[in-house]
Symmetry: C2
Subunit: 110 residues, 2 copies
DNA sequence: GCGGAATACCTTGTAAAGCAAGATATCTTA
DNA sequence: TAAGATATCTTGCTTTACAAGGTATTCCGC
């Protein structure tokens, strides 16, 4: 399994799928979680459009819920398609790490 | 050191800088080396424009050399700027791997 | 009650990454 | 002399990620 061209770009997409898999979450909290994990301050102008794209592609589903305490939140969960896509992403990520490790070790076998 | 937005996209750029650092190389051989390391079949339509951009940005310098045996090759080596950029990339890559590891371990401490 | 801060979501337009497709040229081998 | 391997480059496209800004809700201090 080789890192696809998508992999080289869309690491954020895979990371977000995985966070959602670990428990339903909404955009604003995702923003904080990414920072807490060490991904840096991913701006909302990146996160929200990406969530909408993932939903358009039927990898996640968003459900708007009132909080009684501030504006509504849109909680997202994975679809079966999303689970499959996440699995493929994880394999590609692993392969990318392997390739980078090979590079660091001046290794060309695998 | 947080993975910059560049990092999320431009992993290929860092990988290529590192390969060049390990020894002068030309585009066509780079293509084969990336495949051998496990980066997949990065097309030439990706590699050559990227090399030209790196040169434009003064991170690498290309020197055309005849082979006496086939078309000329353009061997690239790093500039001082390129060395510095590579060091930063390596730190960012390490941070990204750390963040992904945290994610896998459901960990939010760093 | 009013203003500001925090929370929460979204849109528009832009820059850059990576790729597909194809052009060009050299040398070797059949 | 034709085909194939080697070697580089260009044009135009799609997608990623971001900057900048807009909207709405609730809470807190004054």
């Amino acid at each position: 399994m080789q890192p696809s061209s998508q992999m080289l770009k869309g690491i954020l997409e895979g990371a977000i799928l995985q966070i959602i898999q670990q428990g339903d979450i909404y955009g604003y909290a995702l923003h904080e979680k990414l920072a807490a994990l060490g991904f840096g301050d991913i701006p909302e102008g990146t996160i929200y459009p990406l969530l909408l794209k993932l939903q358009r592609n039927k990898l996640i589903i968003g459900v708007r819920r009132p909080t009684g305490n501030g504006p509504d939140r849109k909680y997202y969960h994975l679809t079966d398609e999303g689970e499959k896509t996440l699995t493929i992403f994880q394999q590609q990520w692993h392969q990318l790490v392997q390739a980078m490790t090979n590079l660091n070790q001046g290794d060309e076998s695998s």
